[in-house]
Amino acid sequence: MSTIDSKIPEGPVAEKWTNYKAHQRLVNPANKRKLDIIVVGTGLAGASAASTLAEMGFNVYNFCIQDSPRRAHSIAAQGGINAAKNYQNDGDSVYRLFYDTVKGGDYRAREANVHRLAEVSNNIIDQCVAQGVPFAREYGGLLANRSFGGAQVSRTFYAKGQTGQQLLLGAYSSLNRQINAGKVKSFNRYEMHDVVIVDGRARGIIAKNLVTGKFERFSANAVVIATGGYGNTYFLSTNAMGCNCSAAIAAYRKGAYFANPSYVQIHPTCIPVHGDKQSKLTLMSESLRNDGRIWVPKNIEDAKKLQKGEIKGSDIPEENRDYYLERRYPAFGNLVPRDVASRAAKERCDKGFGVNNTGLAVFLDFSDAIKRLGIDVVRQRYGNLFDMYEEITDVNPGQLAREINGEKYYNPMMIFPAVHYTMGGIWVDYELQTSIPGLFAIGECNFSDHGANRLGASALMQGLADGYFVLPYTIQNYLADQAIWPKIPTDNEEFAKVEKHCVEEQTRLMNIKGKRSVDSIHKELGHIMWEYVGMGRTAEGLKTALEKLKELRKEFETNLFIPGSQEGLNIELDKAIHLRDFIIMGELIATDALHRNESCGGHFRVEYQTEEGEAKRDDENFFYVGCWKYEGDDNTAPSLIKEPLEYEAIKVQTRNYKN
């Protein structure tokens, strides 16, 4: 069995990062000018890494599949970004953010990485403010904060419901400055198809110019992938339509380990599915849980009437409402972590208390907040989300619906959990380097910081931490001796071989000439994943999923139809490449979920729960990172390598959000 070295530095957890920086190897300014770095992706992690590496003096080649770096899906993050500033004087600290994140992740994250994340969180806020990011402020001119799930302090910084947009545009502005300075070369509408390995090290990529349809070769001293998560494996998710896992799977096929794929975050507050023509799901920010209360009817008769459309939520008086999160988790109430809130919604709906025609929805109600704060304040906080909700559903949650005995009831929102984020990803060591030397993975693309469940407002924090403050240091430790190695020309035989393979793959898919469209097969994949590898997994169901996925892969390989040609722009061909990799990803998720005989965070196995229905971990047998190694072809099952977790600062215990 292969061994795994996470390269965690020596010393107490609070001193590891400081010690690392003090002793790591650096690259001198003259050598930085000689070194080229490829950064694939322009989201928070990719854009911040590309700009910072260029500021330091490296030559950066930056790629994105959209028409502009500004459109990466980080832009859609709504709620906020965490930092341990303690500006609210409510007892926050680096340790507390570290602790909350490890606990929120159900004790499956790497302690040393999480502590580093908490340490640099404060630098991120400073950096973004200096860039001109217009965070929300108080009348006194200082920064405002709000609360997010899994925390008892207010440490979330925000810019209306568009925090991701503002942070990404900040990183994009820094990137633009470097493009203007000639230090970053930006390739838009380009997609990485494969990574080129020479003498065991990542030395370049093959990317497709999506407009011309031609493959191009790029050589560098290191390759960084920052291409996001794999949520779209489920077809319906809150991810953008273009989000895909093909770069990550390309790395996996080349030997990079894939860690904890079963840790998929299902976000509790999304707009419910309405029909089979739906293309994606829309998130309603977690910030709504600051003031919104989640409920279903107490009486099953009321639920049945709601499902038949005979009554509305606002017809049900206060005493007949079950605020089930407040009931089950008094200490955290509506602000329990996402995995807990999602499962609780599923539990109520499974018991028949769902509130819409499909029985798969719960209410999120603002009546109390409007009574307490007035409609103006509530609209100021959430107006754009209310409008977005109204545009999609034709119902405005801020509108007075009726009065019962002098009590005012407003239209509640209907929400249901949906796939949102993936904690698993390419395995990286403490330096964010994958198991392939010279290949790094940052942001959602890697697995490192969130364990089995990510807390709200921590994705933006991790993406920017990796890009601004971690990778620019750790990559130097790798690059320190690279300046003396000759550059690898792109007419090298390895580049030629990999490019040929990329072309052949496309030809193979074009020549299937079957009967089914990419989307029809992708929808089927989504159904299998949601049904058997969703919120409640069983060994039996996962085995069924693996069988069905095998059949689906056969269907894809033999019955796919792609119109048009390989020349020029062909959107169906590009989607087919993504689907090829989503199917492999689906198999990875199911394989990992089947092997992990415990429930933790986003991975819930029905067989492993407490009497109260809470996740039951098995620390004796599963206190490790599950890393999957590709065994040469898609038909051979991957092999498992374990990275044991070692906790020294935090006592591993059962997660408790009740008291």
Binding site: Q66, D67, S68, P69, R70, R71, A72, H73, I75, A76, K85, N123, D126, V129, A130, Q131, G132, P134, F135, R137, Y139, G141, L143, A159, Q162, G164, Q165, Q166, L169, Y172, S173, N176, R177, N180, N188, V211, A240, M241, G275, K277, Q278, S279, K280, T282, D387, M388, E391, I392, D394, Y468, F469, S517, D519, S520, F561, P563, G564, G568, L569, I571
Partner: protein, 247 residues
């Protein structure tokens, strides 16, 4: 419900395009406009034809990737919403809907409804940033900024760079887009030190790329999916004039 879609088809940048009419596309009022295009595309693929190429990504109205002139309006008939946030309940059963790409000299067609908006990136690269390197920032609360100023800067920063403003303008002016970024930084103390240089550089790049002038028709403001105000253009002009006086 059924609608007829009259869609601009163009094989590539150099090809001559034409409208193609697709009759009786089945959809529902709860389906989004782009999902209706998905439905049409799925039926095209089933018939062995190439689907309609259009830009789209987040489908939440924030990435700025979707575009489209729908019945003569950028982003269609809804106000303050992008094409991806447009739902079919805005249209009548049996209606014929005309769908075109952005029509602006600054945004050449790549294929069908997809256009090249790289000019907008180039304008940002000319000066849409605060010049400092990562790592040297002071504590975030060391610089108090009044809530009014911060909110105004946020309103300007809300721009999603979709291109509707230039596409809506009879002069093909990109001033709303450019002024939004210049305003955001001009309003904030972080942006003041290079305000003059930024205004000069971004306006010069906009002119160089062939975008037209502003004649105050306010079409950009009316069609902007994010409600960016033309007061930003006035602020940009002030910044530009101040920069000129300094010359």
């Amino acid at each position: 419900m059924k609608v007829t879609l009259k869609v601009w088809r163009q094989a590539n940048a150099k090809a001559k395009g034409e409208f193609v009419t697709y009759k009786d596309v089945e959809t529902t009022p709860d389906t989004s406009f782009l999902e209706t295009l998905d439905i049409l595309n799925e039926s095209l693929v089933e018939r062995g034809e190439e689907p309609i190429t259009f830009d789209h990504d987040c489908r939440e109205g924030i990435c700025g990737m979707c575009s489209l002139y729908i019945n003569g309006h950028p982003h269609g008939p809804a106000t303050k919403a992008t094409t991806c946030q447009l739902y079919m309940r805005r249209f009548k059963d049996g209606e014929t809907i005309t769908v075109e790409p952005w029509r602006s000299a600054g945004f050449p067609v790549i294929k069908d409804l997809m256009v090249d908006r790289s000019a907008y990136d180039k304008i940002q690269q000319a000066g849409g940033y605060v010049s400092f390197n990562c790592g040297g920032a002071p504590d975030a609360n060391a610089l108090p900024i009044s809530k009014e100023k911060a909110d105004l800067a946020m309103d300007a920063a809300t721009c999603i760079g979709c291109g509707a403003c230039a596409a809506a303008c009879k002069n093909g002016s990109a001033m709303l887009f450019v002024s939004a970024k210049i305003s955001q930084f001009a309003l904030l103390p972080q942006g003041r030190p290079e305000a003059a240089r930024r205004a000069r550089a971004m306006v010069a790049k906009m002119d160089e790329l062939g975008f037209g002038n502003c004649t105050n028709t306010r079409a950009c403001e009316a069609e902007c999916p994010k409600g960016i105000s033309i007061t930003n253009i006035a602020r940009m002009n002030r910044e530009f004039l101040k920069a000129k006086f300094k010359d």
